[in-house]
């Protein structure tokens, strides 16, 4: 099957605009985290202008042979005047070092935040080439054809941008609107059913950046592209704006919001082996629930699956995790949930941890470290109790829950503390 893919000629997607990418039909796992049932494509493009040729992105290094063969079928290396890099992950910039060796006169266009990655990709060879750091709205004139750069930070890296071919209204969107789907018919109106792949890709790549996606759609919608040419999967030439709309929909909440605008949501998750951590959880819950303006929910992780909880956490303002310490660690369901939060944006949410222990109680600080790693705020030191809590200790748990809820509700009082107390 692979051989027929490899021999497919370049595809002229518009007059003088060619797809020169590569097919990877045998890929089943992308970047260790994404599944694909029929491989992927690394899409690159060549735009012919009156005064030169621009190459838009390259391909993964292992597929450079396909890329160069297609490139050579539509132009010569001498004719290349510009290399536009929308994103510098290795599946798009993998063939860049070799392309620049073959076309050293070409001028590289990369966003300002992409410079470090460009340096890391080309190493000392960068000194041999010319490059321009592009800002939002900057243009590249190819002679009768204009490429306008549209910065789309965090879709899905800080440096990512799209490039818009103004006269033809083609948006080269790189990973935005991409899908891991390999079909040599290339166009969305011809390929097999890729709807699942499109949504799956969004969920795993773009979902943590929903806020940024919405900002990017604000820039893309007025361009009203007639065609969207992403770097993975089908080229969207039929109803391209439907896919823009779809990104807006996918960036909304998974669940209808039950909370009023003034209410904060606090979720408490726990696991308990002997009931001690469960007792703590109920007291933390009682304390937090006493604060007006905070809606508190309590969940025993033994009774739930990870994915729905991830959806809940995405919409919540704060989370408290309770775990006993077993073999010097938090228990696996807690880690499974915390590991899954990489798919959503947790920045700035409030986090906390508590738990009962018998000997050393490592679970609580380990959870707190993970929450900080997720860029959450951990304002109160975790609550640890040896074996079953006393009435006094349960009261401490209530106060702990209350303190977290007060912070969420904006009712925390100003504090002056000494470094030694931290």
């Amino acid at each position: 099957m692979s051989s027929t893919f490899a021999s497919k000629p370049p595809e002229e997607i518009a007059p003088g605009v060619n797809w020169i990418g590569a097919f990877d039909p045998d890929l089943r796992t992308f970047d260790l985290i994404l599944k694909t049932a029929n491989g992927t494509t690394y899409n690159a493009y060549a735009i012919q202008g009156a005064e030169g040729v621009a190459i838009i992105d390259t391909v993964k290094e292992a597929f450079a042979e396909q890329f160069f063969a297609r490139l050579e079928a539509v132009t010569t290396y001498d004719a290349i005047t510009a290399v536009v890099l929308n994103h510098l992950e290795l599946d798009h910039a993998g063939a860049l070092p070799e392309l620049m060796r073959r076309a050293p006169q070409a001028h590289i266009y990369v966003s300002q935040r992409g410079l470090k990655l460009l340096q890391a990709t080309l190493k000392d060879e960068l000194a041999n080439y010319h490059y321009t750091l592009t800002d939002d709205g900057d243009t590249l004139d190819l002679g009768g054809r204009t490429v306008k750069f549209v910065l789309t930070p965090y879709l899905h890296w800080p440096e990512t941008k799209c490039s818009f071919l103004v006269e033809d209204r083609i948006l080269f969107s790189c990973d935005v609107f991409g899908a891991h789907f390999c079909d040599e018919r290339l166009y969305n109106d011809l390929v097999g059913d890729f709807r699942f792949s499109f949504e799956y890709y969004f969920k795993h790549i773009m979902r943590p950046f929903k806020k940024w996606v919405l900002q990017a759609m604000d820039k893309i919608e007025p361009l009203a592209p007639l065609m969207i040419a992403p770097s993975h999967g089908p080229i969207l030439r039929e109803r391209p704006m439907d896919y823009v709309k779809s990104y807006r929909t996918l960036s909304g909440s998974h669940l209808p919001n039950e909370l009023s605008a003034r209410e904060k949501s606090l979720l408490i998750f726990y696991m308990s082996a002997y009931g001690a951590t469960a007792d703590m959880a109920r007291s933390v819950y009682e304390g937090a629930s006493s604060i007006e303006g905070v809606r508190v929910s309590l969940y025993d992780l033994q009774g739930g699956e990870v994915e729905p909880f991830v959806d809940l956490i995405e919409g919540a303002d704060g989370m408290i995790f309770g775990s006993p310490t077993i073999n010097g660690d938090a228990v696996k369901p807690i880690w499974d949930l915390l590991a899954s939060l990489v798919a959503i944006d947790t920045r700035g949410k409030i986090g906390a941890a508590f738990g009962s222990f018998g000997w050393s109680g490592e679970a609580v600080p380990m959870i707190e470290d993970r929450l900080r790693g997720l860029k959450m705020r951990v304002p109160e030191k975790g609550k640890r109790i040896k074996f079953h809590p006393t009435e006094q200790e349960l009261d401490d748990c209530r106060q702990y829950g209350q303190a977290i809820a007060e912070l969420l509700a904006g009712k925390a009082r100003p504090k002056v503390i000494d470094f030694a107390e931290l």
Partner: protein, 96 residues
């Protein structure tokens, strides 16, 4: 030992800190909103706005200066993983 006062304006918490303390050593412990990435002055994730007392922070190193420029940071901004409180003055900061 000389102590400075570091105030996190976003959460209204002040900490009395020994001279030489980096902001990163304090901000996570009090739950302030500054977010960290590489933690070594390379990525610019932890940019913070210095509302008061810029003169009571250590001068940016060559590396931090480069990162600030790359991120088009204003004159009142620093990297929280790099900036140290010097002397006994007050510094008031918030996330950028």
């Amino acid at each position: 030992m000389a102590k400075g006062k570091l105030t996190f304006a976003d959460i209204d918490v002040s900490v009395n800190v020994p001279a030489g303390t980096r902001v990163i050593e304090v901000s996570e412990k009090v739950g302030a909103g500054i977010i960290y990435g590489c933690r070594e002055g390379d990525c610019g994730t932890c940019l913070m706005k210095v509302e008061e007392g810029m003169e009571n922070l250590s001068e940016p190193t060559v590396l931090e200066d480069k990162v600030l420029k790359e991120n088009m940071a204003g004159k009142d901004m620093r990297c929280a993983c790099q900036a140290q409180i010097i002397g006994e003055g007050e510094v008031k900061i918030k996330p950028a």
